[in-house]
């Protein structure tokens, strides 16, 4: 059953009652909420996802609830509950949907220590993934959003999950987070893409989420090998420039963007070393999305020329 099988009133009733289990990548999330903005966000951005009734097991049990006490009336708030426990402070009510997204990231980053988790966007084409590790503000999400509107498969815009068994990327396609200017930029770049409601005045400024392409959601269980690690930087007006990076330096920079490198220990080190050994590492600065697309297209083409007919799984 898909989320789009529910009309909005039916979804509202379901989420207010026993809840619904949302399947995103390898995770099942049992969601309950009475907040209309969350219901709306889910129905816009998650319509292509598999859902099921809560029967037996879910990886995470989350709830978005109104702040209690006087907060019901005075500057109402929303709280994210992980199985009854609040890992964050409450936020203003209109940030309920972004809080759901952030909360879900927290669930993954805090419980998946059997994988190496990088703070990076990751997209795939022709069986090979480009990992885009970068601190916030580097234009990583915008670049990722643009690529997935041009035929790249979305694996994740925020959390790159690396399997410690074989070093492949475990896809977690979820809505792509856009901030401030990049919201308008994406709407102009890909007018056909669906962007959810904007939320103003969050601690990241104005945020909105772009729906993940349906094909990416449908292929969520197909892992991908890393073909490239590219560190993007957005520079207003700058020409697109791709520069090859030394492996050791690239390795250290990926480590700086890892959430749990200290947890995964030697195993994580070995897996990451294997990935860096086998892929090409670049520094990439760009000022225009169109130009960036060309650069990534030729990257993809280079791999195809090098190793034709790679299998994806």
């Amino acid at each position: 059953m898909k989320l789009s099988d529910f009309s909005e009133p039916a979804l509202t009733r379901q989420l207010a009652g026993e809840g619904l289990v949302l399947h995103t990548g390898p995770f099942s999330v049992h969601v309950r909420t009475t907040m209309s903005s969350v219901v709306q966000g889910l129905s816009i951005l998650y319509r292509d996802y598999d859902v099921s009734h809560m029967q037996g097991y879910a990886d995470f049990h989350v709830q978005l609830v109104a702040g209690g006490g006087l907060r019901r009336w005075y500057k109402p708030q929303v709280r994210f509950l992980f199985d009854g426990f609040a890992p964050f402070k409450p936020l203003p009510l209109d940030q309920a949907f972004p809080m759901f997204e952030w909360g879900l990231n927290w669930c993954v980053a805090n419980h998946m220590h059997n994988c190496l988790i990088l703070h990076a966007a990751v997209v795939e084409r022709g069986g090979y993934a480009v990992v885009l590790p970068a601190p916030p503000g580097s234009g990583k999400s915008t670049l990722c959003a643009a690529l997935v509107t041009r035929g790249w498969r979305l694996l994740s815009d925020e959390l790159t999950i690396v399997s410690l068994d074989d070093g492949t990327i475990v896809p977690l396609p979820r809505p792509v987070g856009l901030k401030n200017h990049s919201i308008a930029v994406m709407k102009a770049f890909a007018p056909h893409c669906t962007v959810g409601n904007e939320t103003r005045d969050t601690n990241k400024g104005t945020v909105a989420h772009m729906r993940a392409p349906r094909q990416s959601v449908e292929q969520a269980l197909t892992p991908a090998r890393v073909g490239w690690v590219v560190f993007p930087t957005y520079q207003s007006g700058a020409p697109a420039r791709l520069e090859k990076l030394g492996k050791a330096g690239a390795f250290m920079r990926v480590v700086q963007n890892a959430f749990n490198f200290n947890v995964v220990g030697v195993k994580g080190f070995d897996v990451l070393k294997g990935i860096i050994d086998d892929c090409a590492c670049y520094e990439f600065s760009y000022g225009q999305l169109e130009q960036a697309m060309d650069v990534f297209d030729s990257l993809a083409a280079s791999r195809v020329a090098e190793k034709p007919a790679q299998k994806t799984a």
Binding site: Q55, Y57, G84, M112, N114, V263, G265
Partner: protein, 362 residues
């Protein structure tokens, strides 16, 4: 019956019982264990009983993840302890590790699958200043800079204000005894230090003798702590008792030592609740002897009612309408045991008034 915290307690008592769980019970087990901070301990028990392969794969991945986290915690603790030893090298003062770090460095099974943040250790009170100075030189600084907090720790508590390393962010709790100076019970720190055992491979490192290790854990849980990790601490006790319980003189030592250190009451509670909740094997004779610490009948049944609730994880499936009042009463009790009223009341008033501007403990 909600006070059973099923299936977590059942599986902790007898890991092979997990064979009978259906998927929704596994779901609940995972949730209860996460809330109780016991996921890695649970994983450890499955490993030990060779049951890992019978865990459903969906749940298994979180047990593996919890293992990774516990391993990382152990590595980190070892590293940090080495740093402390290096910092104190010139002083000639032995470091007596306490709680989690002690279990890890002494390599008792309790240290496997145990998560903790702070490194706790004890030094003689007379050497405290020297230790603090040496740690400061190596980058650990006091966390509570408010003059009142500094006074609170230094005058009344059993430890210095926690020290945080400026680069690594790791926290040390430097103790000079195991209970606040203002507390009702007064275990003699001299006796604890002089009985401490060497840790093989670490010249200046020691841990409490087995009986003292159990008594400290019991004291921390039943006489001092705020019970936020109540079940985790009870599982520690269970694991320590199972581990040391095989040694011939252990149980005699334990009761004997409890009397010597003024800790018969916490020991009584420890044995009572590990037996009742976790089926910890305690020899009859030892249990009879532990009755020396039993409170008067009425108090005993009240404490039983309170601890039976508050020791369970704070999860919907374990809470009843009496759980919150029970936790609150035990919280009040723990403060009352820490300090006499004429000190406690002004302290709490001060804390409450300041709570608005400054949320940092104490």
């Amino acid at each position: 019956m909600p006070l059973t915290c099923d299936p977590l307690l059942r599986v902790l008592r007898n890991p092979t019982d997990s064979a009978q769980l259906n998927l929704s019970q596994w779901d609940l087990l995972l949730r209860q264990a996460r809330r109780a901070n016991l996921l890695s301990a649970l994983s450890e028990r499955f490993l030990h009983a060779d049951l890992v392969d019978s865990v459903p794969p969906k749940v298994r991945k979180y047990l593996d993840a919890a293992n990774m986290l516990a391993d990382a915690n152990r590595r980190g603790a070892r590293w940090e302890v080495r740093c402390v030893l290096k910092a104190l090298e010139g002083t000639g003062i032995p470091v007596v590790l306490l709680k989690g770090a002690a279990y890890v460095l002494a390599d008792v099974p309790t240290g496997r699958g145990r998560l903790f943040h702070d490194i706790d250790f004890m030094v003689p009170k007379a050497r405290l200043e020297q230790v603090e100075q040496a740690l400061r030189w190596q980058g650990w600084t006091s966390t509570h800079l408010n003059p009142y907090d500094q006074r609170y720790y230094r005058q009344w508590m059993h430890e210095l204000p926690p020290m945080r390393h400026v680069k690594r962010g790791t926290v040390l709790d430097v103790h000079h005894t195991i209970l606040p100076e203002t507390a009702k019970l007064h275990p003699d720190p001299e006796k604890l230090l002089s009985a401490a055992r060497d840790v093989p491979g670490f010249p200046m490192l020691k841990v409490f003798a087995p009986a003292d290790m159990v008594l400290h854990s019991a004291t921390h849980l039943f006489h001092d702590g705020e019970l936020e990790n109540g079940l985790r601490d009870l599982v520690d006790l269970d694991s320590l008792l199972r581990h040391f319980g095989d040694k011939p003189r252990f149980w005699d030592d334990l009761n004997h030592r409890a009397a010597e250190l003024d800790l018969t009451r916490p020991l009584y509670y420890a044995l009572r609740f590990t037996r009742e909740l976790l089926n910890t094997p305690v020899p009859e004779a030892a249990w009879r002897q532990a009755q020396q610490g039993r409170p008067p009948v009425l108090l005993a049944s009240l404490m039983n009612a309170l601890f039976r609730r508050a020791l369970l994880p704070d999860h919907d499936s374990c809470n009843t309408w009496l759980t919150a009042p029970a936790r609150w009463l035990l919280y009040v009790r723990s403060h009352h045991l820490r300090m006499p009223l004429h000190l406690l009341v002004p302290h709490l008033v001060r804390k409450a008034l300041r709570g608005k501007v400054d949320t940092e403990k104490p």
